[in-house]
């Protein structure tokens, strides 16, 4: 085990190891071959190692990248198609939504589509309205797709390897703001996977459940530390890791323990993944008398360019802290965790 591996390295190792393990695995996308090695260098060195027939540069043709991925996947290959930004998947939505996601179904279970669509993106870099969207809810809404959004290098590598071995189309959404984060990862060649569809409790707590994924998980952990220090509140942070299908069981178990839920993501709040989780938890926990549920998400606007405007629209740690305080205060729960904290919450 190495304790300080960059997420971008962990992702490259996953691709490298799966290509070595299975000759049906190949990569295609814009600018992914050497010397460029991908816009974010995730595939750097792989075309040199495996050849440009297995690490294929494509034209700027998102429909063809996904469509050819579908065609190759249903005829015996295991393609990993890279779309440079998740925003660009909009161009190829038919191939993602009405082809990849539905072919198994429309064929009556005859065909499988073992296709991974790697994409990246997310806010925080003044990339403005067309290069920083969090579009996971679009894909979350589509039966037949899996949506994976890791938050740590360990999970990123294990989930990508699992996604490549999965027989379903997987949107593997890497959040750009995490590429340079570091964390423990097993040694190269030490084969491990992280199962799709399983959430991970990144921090245990008894007072409130914070459900997050991707970079928001890191903000949730920071928020939890602040809440523990300032309010004496112990938050449990559940990292979904796989957004669809989401791990209802783990979320509900945590919620039944804490009785309070804050779902946090950087995608717009309206129609977001958080809405579905909040509604489901509410429906499933009707037997609990005192339940408190809140959502954190971006304001209903495109991502603005200027840094201060972007920060205003996109939530982070502070918004999670505020939501937890409001939620607990509303539920009258601060009595359980300290009067001082309740007073502070009232000021929020």
């Amino acid at each position: 085990m190495r304790d300080n591996v960059l997420m971008r390295e962990a992702l490259r190792e996953a691709l490298d190891e799966e290509m070595a393990r299975d000759e049906r695995v190949f990569l295609m996308g814009e600018d992914i071959a050497d010397p460029m090695g991908g816009s974010y260098k995730i595939t750097l060195g792989l075309s040199t190692k495996y050849g440009k027939h297995r690490v294929r540069n494509t034209p700027i043709s998102e429909i063809a990248i996904v469509g050819a991925g579908v065609g190759a996947a249903i005829t015996g290959m295991r393609p990993v198609a890279e779309i440079m930004y998740v925003d660009f998947l909009e161009v190829a939505m038919d191939q993602v939504v009405s082809q990849a996601a539905k072919i198994r179904y429309m064929s009556g279970g005859q065909l499988s589509v073992p296709l991974v669509i790697r994409c990246q993106g997310g806010p925080g870099r003044s990339a403005a309205a067309q290069h920083s969207q969090m579009l996971e809810a679009w894909f979350f809404h589509v039966p037949g797709l899996k949506v994976v959004m890791p938050s740590t290098p360990y999970d990123a590598k294990g989930l990508l390897k699992a996604a490549i071995r999965d027989d379903n189309p997987v949107i593997f959404f890497e959040q750009n703001g995490l590429y340079n984060t570091r964390g423990p990862v097993p040694d190269p060649g030490e084969d491990y996977t992280v199962p799709l569809g399983k959430a991970d409790i990144k921090r245990e707590g008894k007072d409130v459940t914070i459900v997050a994924y991707a970079q928001m998980t890191l903000f949730a952990l920071q928020a939890a530390e602040q809440l523990a220090k300032e309010d004496g509140v112990e938050a449990e942070v559940v990292d979904l890791r796989t957004v669809s299908p989401w791990d209802k069981e783990t979320v509900l178990r945590s919620f039944r323990k804490t009785g309070a839920l804050v779902v946090a993501h950087q995608a717009v709040r309206q129609g977001g993944v958080g809405a579905e989780i909040a509604a489901t938890v509410y429906e499933e926990a009707l037997d609990l008398v005192d339940v408190e549920i809140a959502r954190v998400g971006a304001k209903f606007a495109p991502t603005p360019f200027a840094p201060h405007l972007e920060r205003y629209v996109i939530p982070g740690k502070d918004e999670i802290v505020a939501a937890v305080r409001t939620t607990l205060e509303r539920g009258g729960r601060f009595g359980a965790v300290g009067q001082a904290a309740a007073q502070r919450a009232g000021a929020v």
Partner: protein, 331 residues
């Protein structure tokens, strides 16, 4: 199936009698299947939409006749003919149209989405143009696996102005993928005539823009389609890359069964009905391999019996259990 030989003289395929009868029978199977399906649809017995390929049989059969069973095709919303030409049984076709358990796709797909991997049918498709990049991907898979299969995309003239057409054909061209792109040009995209959406006299001119061969073919002449398809398929199999074929043809019915097709003159329909690909091929067979009324009668009666039995099979097949509606979402 006996492999046809090419004559040295004209570069024209000389079909032997067995092959010719096989191709003829496939056209008759499509014609009778489509006519029967239209009648059942008009009686309200088939759910959903129905797009008939009557009149276009020579394109489906000419192209699929040049393919092996392990070659791939992607098809369109007007796909029954392609799938039957590729070898599909009429019983499972009808069962799918009826939405029954015994259908090719257990009634989960229906008329516009029939798939069968064993026959190399990667799917009819309800989205215009979508099968083109998928066929390119099948071609890429063939190239990477090192087999000598070929992937064919059928599409209508409605597809030629989609992004999928451009992106898919260009990708196949730059990578020399073993693909054949077959435009079944029936002159109308739903109700919009081709001259309204195309500034050039023939789609094949676009082939030059992709750096690949293009060939304009009389799509109602089975032998011409078969010849052109064989050239394109041989080229693809030899690793020389894709070809664009434009087969001019005509659909006798409207865009869908029930469409009165008010957008086209009756004289035009009559003109094309007089060029029915089936009697044209009968005439060719009479001249080249021998064919008489008794042969014709035998084929039509045998196919009629097959159609009746297939419909009976479908009608007697069980409905797909409702649990299946949730079974196949994920692998």
């Amino acid at each position: 199936m006996t492999r046809p030989k090419r004559s040295d003289k004209k570069g024209e395929t000389r079909l032997d009698r067995t092959t010719a009868l096989d191709l003829y029978t496939r056209m008759v199977r499509i014609r009778q299947f489509e006519e029967k399906a239209a009648r059942l649809y008009e009686q309200g017995l088939l759910p959903g939409f129905l797009h008939s390929s009557v009149g276009q049989e020579a394109v489906a059969v000419g192209v699929c006749g040049a393919l092996r069973k392990d070659d791939y095709i992607t098809s369109t919303h007007r796909g029954h003919g392609h799938i039957i030409a590729k070898g599909a049984g009429l019983d499972r076709m009808f069962a799918e149209l009826y939405g029954r358990e015994t259908g090719f796709n257990r009634g989960l797909g229906g008329s516009m989405h029939i798939m069968d991997f064993e026959l190399g049918v990667l799917g009819a498709n309800g989205i215009v143009g979508a099968g083109i990049p998928i066929a390119a991907g099948a071609g890429l898979s063939i190239q990477l696996r090192g087999t000598d299969q070929v992937a064919v995309a059928f599409f209508g003239d409605g597809a030629i102005n989609t992004g999928a057409f451009h992106e898919g054909i260009n990708l196949a061209a730059i990578w020399d993928l073993p693909c054949v792109f077959v435009c079944e040009n029936n002159l109308y995209a739903e109700s919009t005539p081709q001259e309204y959406v195309l500034r050039i006299p023939a789609l094949t001119e676009r082939a030059r823009g992709y750096g690949i061969p293009g060939e304009l073919v009389d799509g109602n002449d089975l032998v011409a389609v078969y010849d052109a398809a064989r050239r394109a398929v041989e080229r693809a199999r030899a690793g020389k890359g894709p070809t664009l074929l434009e087969c001019r043809t005509y659909r006798w019915y409207g865009h869908y069964i029930g469409d009165p097709a008010v957008y086209r003159p009756q004289e035009e329909v009559e003109y094309w009905k007089a060029r029915d690909p089936i009697p044209r091929f009968e005439a060719w067979m009479k001249e080249h391999v021998g064919f008489d009324d008794a042969d014709r009668e035998a084929v039509w009666q045998a196919v009629a019996a097959e159609v009746e039995a297939a419909v009976k099979f479908a009608e007697e097949s069980p409905l797909t259990p409702v649990e299946a509606a949730l079974d196949c979402v994920y692998s």
